[in-house]
Each structure stands twice: as C-alpha cells, then as structure tokens.
Symmetry: C2
C-alpha cells in the first residue's frame, strides 16, 4: 500500500489536467479523487509499460516514464484517499 | 450527449465487477460512479478499438464488442450521472 503524503509530493505534474482536488478541468480526462487505489496503480503501470495507446496515452506515458514503482504506488494512495 | 436511461438498460453486464452503484466490488477495477462522461466514452471506445491491452483489457474488449457507439454514449451518460 502506498504512502499518500509521499504521493502528494509527486502530484504537482498531475494537477494541470486532473485538477488540484482530483476532479478534472478538461472533459476528456478522468477524475481521480476517490478512485480505487489498486486500479490507479494498475493504470499508471499500464501507461508506463505501453499497455495503453490512443487518446492521451502518449502524454500519460511521457509523464509516468520518470516515476518509480514506489512513486506510482504513492500517487495511487494519494488520489484514492481524496474525497470524490 | 448520451441517454442515461437507455444506458441503464445496457448496464446489466457491468455490475458484476463495477457494482450496482458504480462502486467496485473487486479492488483492481475502477469505480465508475460520477466519472467524467467524455472520459467514460473515450475509454470504452479505446477498449473496443484495441487501444488498451494488459490487465483486464481483454475482458473489457469482449464486453464492449457488442456495443454500438450509441450504447457506449448512453452507458457513459448513465455512470457519469451516478453519485460517486
């Protein structure tokens, strides 16, 4: 299970699209607040490993490329803990 | 914009994993309740068109293969309208 406080430190690059409170500012993007932690971790890993293409997948791939497995786990905990 | 009432008629196959109230019963799956409509539509289309692989993507692909563009639009409206 990830460390939400550590995840917050890595979330600065997420807020432009996913919002400071995990609610999107852009209609095509998903809200993250309160999303299931295991799913968030899975989807970030999927972007990192090339399991998603099309739409904004290339952008997400670029963003997550510099994240460690621990960073991903912490980010998942951070957004899962937010009130939806 | 989709028709939420029509979407509800197509959602019977979704509830086993995504829950009757759009909240997951299985940790690896995403909650759908209150998710952004445009994103839900995009992601269902991505599964249908092969833009996602790995994890449960093959399962989702099988489920959405029988859905029309209108069905997908309606399902997106249905889940987006649910309280998260």
């Amino acid at each position: 299970k990830g460390d939400a406080a550590a995840g917050e430190q890595k979330a600065a690059m997420c807020v432009a699209c996913h919002g400071a409170a995990g609610k999107v500012s852009v209609p095509l993007y998903p809200n993250l607040a309160g999303q299931n932690e295991a799913y968030l971790e899975h989807s970030l890993q999927a972007y990192k490993k090339g399991g998603r293409s099309g739409g904004q997948a290339e952008i997400m791939k670029a963003y997550v490329s510099g994240l460690s497995d621990e960073d991903i786990s912490n980010l998942a905990a951070y957004y899962a803990a937010m009130k939806p």
